[in-house]
């Protein structure tokens, strides 16, 4: 049965725009059921703010099923809050107690500039994918899907890293603001599959270089893995690094042949 939580104090980051100076604003949510999700609590707060004639707190969210990767939020200093393997939208108030004070901040990373309040711009992730996070297969002319058998373990391992939702928690959790888990996950997904072999080394080289243009460097803290709502293993970074090193040789050889 549901319980009612009382007197939750929220310290929420408000910032009018990218260049504005931000500050914490305090609000109290009097009563809420523990069946409510964390974002529903923010909905209730926003509804109250609008009714009182104040501006609603801006935050990114959409599917509320933990799959679209739109939601974010540093909750008490943890990306996506205290529950392991759970995106903010799937976090429920039963994880909190009456009289708790909860601090809510946006992702903080120089590659993710703040747009307003809790919303940031994560388009640097798209730039990484655009630079090589795909298998080139123009529409039409694909061979029969069962032509190349893919061992189940390989397909499963590819799927493990393909589950990344692109939310940016890994970057927000990283003291260096590095995007290695995100980039590594896509590289691991594609380079484990037979279809991904043709572009394996050109892909890793160009994706890593684009990543370095926008993000900080990895120093193997492992915070990314702990923060990832999909619990993607840091092993993907090792795989990416290995392939990147190989690419430096492989690509040079290819070039020499030309």
């Amino acid at each position: 049965m549901s319980n009612h939580l009382k007197n939750i104090t929220l310290r929420i980051w408000r910032q009018a725009g990218p260049a504005a100076k931000g500050n914490f604003e305090t609000h109290v949510v009097d009563e809420i059921t523990d069946e409510a999700s964390f974002l529903e609590m923010l909905d209730i707060l926003n509804d109250k703010l609008v009714t009182e004639g104040k501006e609603a707190v801006v935050f990114d969210h959409d599917c509320r099923e933990g799959i679209c990767g739109t939601c974010s939020l540093m909750i008490d200093g943890q990306a996506h809050g205290p529950q392991r393997g759970t995106a903010t939208c799937q976090l429920h108030m039963r994880q909190f107690k009456s009289n708790d004070t909860i601090t809510i901040e946006p992702w903080r990373a120089s590659a993710f500039p703040i747009i307003k309040d809790l919303m940031v711009d994560r388009s640097a992730f798209d730039r990484i994918i655009e630079s090589g996070g795909y298998i080139t297969a123009d529409t039409g002319g694909a061979p029969d899907a069962n032509l190349i058998p893919i061992p189940k373990v390989i397909a499963d391992a590819a799927m493990d890293s393909a589950e990344c939702i692109g939310c940016g928690a890994c970057v927000a959790a990283c003291p260096n603001g590095a995007a290695n888990l995100f980039t590594g996950a896509k590289i691991a997904h594609l380079s484990r599959l037979p279809q991904g072999q043709a572009e394996r080394y050109s892909r890793v080289e160009s994706m890593v270089e684009t990543m370095d243009d926008h993000f900080g460097s990895c120093t193997s803290h492992g915070e990314c893995e702990a923060a990832c709502p999909k619990e993607i293993s840091i092993d993907v970074i090792a795989l990416m690094n290995k392939d990147f090193r190989k690419a430096k040789f492989a690509n040079r050889k290819d070039l020499a042949r030309k």
């Binding site: 009714t51 509320r64 990767g69 529950q83 799937q90 039963r94 039409g140 189940k152 499963d156």
Partner: protein, 650 residues
Amino acid sequence: MTLTDELFAKNTVKLDSKIPDGPVADKWDNYKENMKLVNPNNKRKFKVIVVGTGLAGASAAATLAELGYQVDAFTFHDSARRAHSIAAQGGINGAKNYKGDGDSVHRLFYDTVKGGDFRAREANVHRLAQVSVDIIDQMVAQGVPFAREYGGLLDNRSFGGAQVSRTFYARGQTGQQLLLGAYQQFSRQVGLGGISLYNRSELIDIVVIDGRASGIVVRDLVTGEITSHAAHAVVLATGGYGNAFFLSTNAMACNVTAAWRAHRKGALFANPCYTQIHPTCIPQSDDSQSKLTLMSESLRNDGRVWVPVNPNETRPAHEVPEEERDYYLERLYPSFGNLAPRDISSRAAKRAVDKGQGVGPKKNGVYLDFSEAIERLGHDVVQERYGNLFEMYERIAGENPYETPMRIYPASHYTMGGLWVDYELQTNIPGLYAAGEANFSDHGANRLGASALMQGLADGYFVLPYTIGNGLAPLLNKPMPGIDHPEFKAAEDAARNRYNAYLAINGTKSPDYFHRELGKIIWDYCGMERTEEGLKKALELLPALYQEFKTDLRVTGSGDDMNQTLEKAGRVDDFFQLGMLMCRDALDRKESCGGHFRAEYQTDEGEALRDDVNYCHVAAWQWGGDPMTPNLNVEPLEFEAVHLATRSYK
């Protein structure tokens, strides 16, 4: 003279469905052989706008750019990867017959027409079934990690309304993997310069000049700036309108605005009353709830649906003995059992709950029980198949489904209605196309499971790239209006005034308040079961609430920066207008079919009772200047390859 003939004679718009000649199995090939082509070097002279980057939009934009067209793509999300196609769980159908269980293009075609209760256009559905096999090949080539068997070949599962295994899946995240596949292909074209991407940009109007779609007006959600964009063709791949119910499995931002703005500019809106209520969602737990979460239909492969026979049952599920359980789907529909189609399963759940047999604290659900499957297959196999869905359930409901049966209840999930399109997916406005859930064409009155992903990708990959070329070829080197045309300026001004007006009302209630109230009316009177009396009541309540919206809305902040309250106001406004049309369409369709169930029209056994003499037609509504006075146009449906029959899953 049938009602269809009578209505058809009164059409105010000439509806030409452009179905090609020949037997149904040859129509698509005939079309392709006779269509006009654009020379590869001329393709770059054409600009195509694609709105929406879900499966249909991303695949269309990527393919058109690969062919050489200049593509401008728009999404209101921060990234093209966020579109709601991503949330589809269960799978995608493809008539591959890899299982050797008797599947074929014809069988998928027939199942889809029958599943849609014979209210879809036969030729479109056949084409969908034909290209379904190409989709699977295309997605595998792109690296979509579909589930495989130990030998390395692709695995399949079954979905509702089919007696073969033709559903391909990637754990419980098939939509995510397919969308990421399309998004990656799309991103490649962004990187190569074939696509110009406008993110966080919402379509707020369509511009029609001399009867032809000439471009769109968008609002930059970050800066509030309103700009115009001209093109030779505009594709709307903007999804469905399930959020009209407020509580639905749709993402929070899903809305009808793009389709509705097109409708107001002359595009017909077809069958708005065909909405799908999905049987397996987590029941509502409290009043502040913002959305409902789907539990994939694939769970019904192994889960058994039941309610206690005794409405006053208080024991926990595992203590209720077998003989005191009613496995009502297995009892009522023995040949399909727990895999009965969605509309039928939803109504059966509603009836059980209405009879007081509901379970859970609010008695608003039915059990979906895995104990027999766990016994038969073992914990590990069940975990392998459904592990992530079980985890998701536990996070939301706070109960472990390996130990306690899930509780489920129907919720708004998908809309079969949408913009009217012809065989080429073109609306009645030349140059304006609609793809994926935004159009009405393939699912009739009820969509089968795992067919939404199939349709989105079919439209985007394998239909539009051909039909758009056919439409553009005659326009080569002809002058087209640019954004300096006064119509663009007028549309921008109208849009600006509309948004300023929301800010100026300065009333007392938020857009969310109105959305919630609107949703309640539509759910109560235009949901799983509809009556003439209820619909008439809704058509009194809706205009009254809409009036209140126009006078008592409060939108804080300004129009010159990121303002989610203002965005919401525009979307709720359009939902109000659509809501009235949904009820009107439901009132006028005096029969039951698929997801449209009118209590007055049912068999003795409580099944949908169609009226093929008078209602075997598409109801395509024309904007009449006021949401309460639309004009009805009909397209009669003719069936050549299948015989109209009463749908039976017994």
